[in-house]
């Protein structure tokens, strides 16, 4: 962990910034999905719940994947 390669570090930070922006976009989609499912359920459309839950699960899996990516980039760019 001595004098790092600063270009590698900067590139790592840019990659992490990109991943974070993507996660925020996915989160916004998930928020909309939740509110749409809730409104549909309250209106009596019981069938909305299942596809919404499936897609929400997919988006959450993508968030987890991006989280693991951020961890990996962090480890790589801070290794010697």
């Amino acid at each position: 962990m001595a004098n790092r390669d600063f270009t590698k570090q900067k590139r790592g930070l840019v990659a992490i910034d990109g991943a974070m922006a993507l996660v925020v976009v996915l989160l916004v989609i998930q928020i909309w999905l939740l509110s749409a499912a809730l409104e549909g359920f309250l209106a009596g459309h019981r069938g909305v719940a299942l596809p919404a839950a499936i897609f929400s699960g997919l988006l959450f899996a993508c968030c987890l994947g991006l989280n693991a990516f951020v961890d990996r980039v962090d480890r790589h760019s801070r290794r010697d």
Binding site: M20, L27, L34, A53, D74
Partner: protein, 171 residues
Amino acid sequence: MSLLRSPSSEPLWKDEFSVFTADERYVTRRQFVKFLSLASLGMFVGNLWILARAYFAKTPAYPANAVAEVGEIPVKGVKLFSYPTPDDRCILVRTSEDEYVAYSQKCTHLSCAVYYSAKNDRLECPCHRGFFSIKDGSVLQGPPPRPLPRIVLQATGGKLVATGVQVSENG
């Protein structure tokens, strides 16, 4: 989170309390991404909760309450009552000689009390000009997103008895 760290990397305390200022930004961003993932998990759990409610909801048992006498109100007349609880206001309309309909009075837009307009033969909401059909409570015009819940009526022994609430199920 210890499951996601490889065994060869630095111990967690060295990462979190690094002596290098350059690392501080990394730790902050990593924590933020973790928080976002947690929020994503929360949304997913919310959707699962809705799913559970949709599949495992029991049809509630409604009481049978006498609402009015047959012939009590004139044709195109209106009577207000409460069903199933005293807080649920409903409206009974005699549309013709022997036809009665009853709906929940709460507008599905923002819960204003709807009234019956005999001139236009429809239920109207005064707040944002939402109009409901008197025949089945569906939305004719305006901001309400859903039809009015219908109160199921039965005529027994000269009385009109409310036996249930029917929320429209399409989908």
